[in-house]
Amino acid sequence: MIKIENLHKVFDNKYEVLKGLNLSINEGELLCLLGASGCGKSTLLNILAGLMQPTSGDIKFEGCSVLNTPPKDRDIALVFQNYALYPHMTVLENVMFPLRVGKNRLSKEQAKKRAYEYIEVTKLEKFINKRPHKLSGGQQQSVAIAAALVQEPKILLLDEPLNNLDATLRLKIREEIRILVKSMNITTIFVTHDQEEALSLSDKIALVQDGHVVQLDSPQEIYLEPANLFVAKFMGNPSMNLFIMRKQGNRLISNDFKIDLKLLTPSKFKDELFEEDFFVGIRPEYFLIAPNAPVFTTNIIQKELVGKDCILHFKLNKKVAKIIVSTNSRVVEGNKISVGIDYNNIHIFTIDGRRVY
């Protein structure tokens, strides 16, 4: 169990990246750290590994503060974002290196044996005696991952470990990583930009914004029940359609369509709608093609095929909105469609981002 409490980090140049970040990770859990570029994900990992000291706050492993524990005693392995392999060592030597230093030093034979295991896992057998500069970016990344896994650490920190891999290999290695860390019960923090990766890989996702964790939840919860407007906007691809609507009696109204509040589930309201204007968020998959009881009708201006589904663009309230439909519905650009709304799955936020429904 890792507990991060009220963590602050102010850099020498007075820039405050982490502003009282709280996060807890259970043993053996795979947590994805998700957030925009520059929000402090790498900084957090560096602090966890002990390579950087926080300005204030505490980090506890199993209830004990580790702030004064040097990196080598934290039983952590780390794959850096700009992982650097040792250029003068072969792939095998790079993977063996962590086993040949430190207090649990293995003999050359043992280290080699274990290194071979993980080289196999990462499919690097062919390159065993090559120097890193002879490998592609993705292969190098695999070496870095192997060199981390080989330590069989209690905690594994991966800072965007897959960003140089092609789509297929990416998928494959992330599955491998998941299977491995799960079977070895390694607590893993996985930083990624790719929300799809986060959604498919993790037990939990922590979404970081402005130096805080804004939501820590299972992938499903974070997708279906965003804590606030930021999370709602961040998660989902294509992203959630947002409309500014005005409250008028029991309805939310806008130029092109209205929502009757009585159609919404009363128990899902988190607060009363005091304000005048609200953001209404509707994910593209919760617009429905509804020829019988349309909320509005519109023209398709663009069609994007993604596979079994396609994304249709249309204008609503003078903004482009998107709807996902099955590809075999064979809608084409210019067609008129009648659209309904799945009221169970819409969200309402105040203008400053608080979720009220």
Binding site: L51, P71, K72, L78, A84, V101
Partner: protein, 287 residues
């Protein structure tokens, strides 16, 4: 064909300069080494100059001294430089200040350095002997004892070589990715392992370069001897070096042919040594 003509044309200024100032003197040196030693009435005398030089016990002394000097100054100088550079590198705060201090000797003329050294090493009022006195060590006659003359030159040589070595090594260290060390410290590698397994192997190309440069410089040592011993090569030529021998033959005893022969021999020795050294180091860095 026209392309290569153009290339030769563009290269010609550089080529002319190289031929004029590098190849011609070398050819003339070789030519003169086969001539009798008087300049106005010289004639071909075959290998006579070479035989004279090679059987001259003073030449043996000169080559011996030069070899000992190189063998001592190059490795010791490099190791000390490496240690100082590694310490300086960790010492972020006044790094630049110290770098300048260590580099200073490199830009000061050897003559000035030699004079300073003469003062420091003086038997009666030099600082070094003064300090040694605090530890009850008898004053050492650095300058006028034929037994110690070579040691004096070696100490001076090591000290002189530090500046350049440290600056080059520091720039090499700065080029190393800091992530190497972060990763190593997470794995639990201690400072010594980090240096031995990560820093040193990656500095090998730079060390190779410094080895070559330092060796060649050592073979050419002359000014140091001249300035420290006030124009002599120590008492009774005890600190004579190869280049000093050549100079002596040329300007002091006016045996031009013999001087040239000695120069050619030295040139061959340096050439062979450099080639062997490069071969060994290439093996080492390739593995």
């Amino acid at each position: 064909m026209r392309k290569s003509l153009k290339a030769w044309f563009l290269l010609s200024p550089a080529l002319i300069i190289i031929i004029l100032f590098n190849l011609l003197p070398l050819a003339r040196t070789v030519f003169l080494s086969f001539q009798s030693s008087s300049l106005n009435n010289s004639h071909f005398i075959g290998l006579e100059n070479y035989i004279t030089v090679l059987t001259d016990s003073r030449f043996h002394q000169a080559i011996y001294n030069t070899a000992i000097y190189a063998l001592a100054v190059v490795p010791i100088g490099l190791i000390i430089s490496l240690i100082i550079a590694a310490i300086l590198y960790d010492f972020k705060k006044f790094q630049v200040v110290f770098e300048v201090i260590f580099f200073m000797p490199y830009i000061i003329s050897t003559v000035a350095k030699g004079s300073i050294f003469r003062l420091l090493l003086n038997e009666d009022y030099g600082i070094i002997n003064n300090i040694l006195g605090w530890f009850n060590i008898m004053p050492i006659n650095f300058l006028d004892d034929p037994e110690i003359a070579l040691l004096t030159i070696i100490i001076f040589g090591i000290w002189s070589s530090l500046g350049f070595n440290i600056v080059i090594l520091l720039s090499g260290l700065r080029n190393l990715n800091s992530q190497y060390y972060k990763m190593a410290s997470v794995c639990g590698a201690n400072k010594f392992q980090q240096f031995w397994l990560i820093t040193l192997p990656q500095l090998l190309p730079i060390i190779t370069f410094l080895l070559t440069v330092n060796c060649i410089n050592s073979f050419r040592i002359y000014t140091e001897v001249y300035t420290i011993f006030n124009g002599k090569a120590g008492i009774g030529y005890s600190a004579i070096t190869a280049v000093y021998y050549i100079y002596d033959k040329f300007y002091v005893v006016n045996r031009y042919g013999e001087g040239m022969a000695a120069a050619v021999i030295l040139f061959m020795l340096i050439l062979i040594f450099t080639i062997i050294q490069n071969l060994i180091l290439r093996k080492l860095t390739r593995r």
